[in-house]
Amino acid sequence: MNIHEYQGKSMFREAGVNVLDGVHCTSIEDALSAYDSLGSKVVAVKSQIHAGGRGKGTLYSPESGEKVMVGGVKIAHSREDVELYSRNILGNKLVTIQTGEDGKIVNNLYVEAGCAIAHEYYLAILVDREAKAVLIMASTEGGMDIEEVAENTPEALHKVWVDPAAGLLGFQKRNLGMDLGLSGAALKSFFGILGKLYDVFVMNDCAMIEINPLVRSEDDEIIALDAKVSFDENASFRHKEWEDIRDLGEEDDAEVRAKELGLSYVKLDGDIGCLVNGAGLAMATMDVIQLYGGEPANFLDIGGGAGEDTVNAAFEIILEDPNVKGILVNIFGGIQRCDIVAKGILASVEKMGLEVPLVIRLSGTNYKEGRAIIDASDLQTYSAKTLAEGAKKIVGLIGGEQ
């Protein structure tokens, strides 16, 4: 789960990590009064969306599609600038390298005081799955794409792994600061901030904290100029406060509803809907559809032991997608019983009707019973014995209609 920069910074501020003064705004009036209250001549006007690359993104009018402004993060030197930039940003569509072509409508703005920057650094905290430990990465090349830094100048990227039992130790913080070339007051400031950020990471069950850039000001303070924070959703049971800061407007509506029903759903661009049990098999089903010339419309894992209702809900979500021209059901019953899936499919079709071809592959636990239920119904379906056969069939059926 991702949160906005302004929310991440408010977490930082509470934890004692240096951030600049800033105000969250949702209107031009808000932005102007924020400018007045900050008392800083130069401010940054920053689009708030759950995607990176905002600074280099482009804003478009959602109605006309016309280009409005280049850059989703702007430095304003006057009250007039603030008005112009917030007008150009709010309600418009921001397209960045991470949003895809559709972009995201910007409803939130962050107006932040300026500061005199001496140097920009990069800092990230995340879980290193290979080392099975928390990893802190820092670089002197702030403001740049970190993948590029890792590729082109790996020597500029410094890493520290935290021993889960010992925690982050003093010498590790000091050494990392010295690796970044810090000394004196700046090193002391970095030392304090890194410890606090690590605590924020652990106490909030973060999946990642990325600060790009982390800056050294001209008076040797280390300040988080950016805050990209995401949480490990598995830990949501012990973080009820996440509900209050979750911005559902940034998430796909169908994906959110699917999650509430215990389904994993990810919408994709293709036209073949799939309903599968198990994440690995669901991915493999998408792959095989593509292998035989089709494009999957979604990833959908109904989990293990789904009931009729869950199957029904899954079917509804697939059929809601107007791009779907055909459906492939692929079930390998383990805990999941195939007859339950069959009943769920029939119930859905009865309720919603079915105007696209449906290929069903049932295997494993109770597959014969499941097949019998489908065969005994009036439902026109195509059956397949293997995943490959199912994928070929649905791709063929869709091609035949075009």
């Binding site: 099975k132 490990d232 959703e233 830990a235 198990g278 994440a279 493999a284």
Partner: protein, 307 residues
């Protein structure tokens, strides 16, 4: 000899009084697994009737192992308590026997809990953790066998193919594929789809390479991390038995979590294409479609003079 567990392994069920624990303990007994007891703190002394067997419940893993001399435990404890259950099992096996296999089925354990639990297990070298978020491990026997987990027992048969996979249902698919060419399995291991887990691909490949019963290996990966690449490089140097490989997630868009917490492509790393390329480089026989695993395995066995 299959790996890590055999037909006679004695198994405890942690969380046996929960609905998942009860359901799967019964299924395991029906398959032939020697379930010697269960653990639910506060419910010690209870006797459960399961599949015509009476199973004792203990308050702690320490007590349960002392009483039953168990070799392995399987965890069906809900996510908030699962990491603690892993550490309790590791501690008890380590203190009493110096070794033990701990299989964690639970899905949805916070990653930082697993970082702690894996470090705890790693300090006890005799303890093997499988999972979490996995179907478990099964060694089919001549008649029944030892199933520790949630996989459908009836699709398996004793044989010479070792299977290791990150995914549950895709493991079943691989099992069905071996059966389609008349081959059974030595041991099938689901290592789980979480970013931080216990036993990895390399541990399993090393186990299969050393195992006399295993003559060929099926390895199924998925997007995310670099475990498949590392395993392929290791296999090229250390595994002489033929390996068939598949990776799920070629069509997954970057930055999106595909069901499994670990299945995400970040920063261009962890793609299926990279993993397939690493497999190819290591001389692993590639199946582009899980429905082809059987056919590719037959070719691999023939090339190795095993068919």
């Amino acid at each position: 000899m299959p790996i890590w567990i055999n037909e006679h392994s004695k198994v405890l069920v942690q969380g046996i009084t929960g609905s998942q624990g009860t359901f799967h303990a019964t299924k395991m007994i029906e398959y032939g697994t020697d379930i010697v007891g269960g653990v639910t703190p506060g419910k010690g002394g209870l006797l459960l009737d399961m599949a015509e067997k009476s199973v004792s419940v203990y308050d702690s893993m320490f007590e349960a192992i002392q009483e039953t001399d168990a070799d392995a435990s399987v965890i069906y404890v809900p996510p908030p308590f699962a990491a603690e259950a892993i550490m309790e099992a590791a501690d008890a096996f380590d203190q009493i026997k110096g070794e033990g296999v701990v299989v964690c089925i639970t899905e949805g354990i916070p990653t930082l809990d697993m970082v702690k639990a894996v470090a705890y297990v790693d300090q006890r070298p005799g303890i093997r953790l499988i999972g979490p978020n996995c179907p478990g491990i099964i060694t089919p026997g001549k008649d029944g066998g030892c199933k520790i987990g949630i996989m459908p027992g009836h699709i398996h048969k004793k044989g010479r193919i070792g299977i290791v996979s990150k995914s549950g249902t895709l493991t079943y698919e691989a099992v069905a594929q071996t059966m389609s060419i008349g081959e059974g399995q030595s041991t099938c291991i689901g290592i789980g789809g979480d970013p931080v887990n216990g036993t990895g691909f390399i541990d399993c490949l090393a186990g299969f390479q050393a195992d006399l019963q295993t003559e060929a290996i099926v390895m199924i990966g998925e997007i995310g991390g670099t475990a498949e690449e590392d395993a392929a490089a290791w296999a090229a140097e250390n595994v002489t038995k033929p390996i068939v490989g598949f990776v799920a997630g070629a069509t997954a868009p970057p930055g999106k979590r595909m069901g499994h917490a670990g299945a995400i492509i970040s920063g261009g790393k962890g793609t299926a294409a990279e993993k397939f390329a690493a497999f190819k480089l290591a001389g692993i026989h590639i199946a582009n479609d899980p429905s082809e695993i059987g056919a590719v395995l037959a070719v691999a066995l023939k090339e190795a003079g095993l068919l």
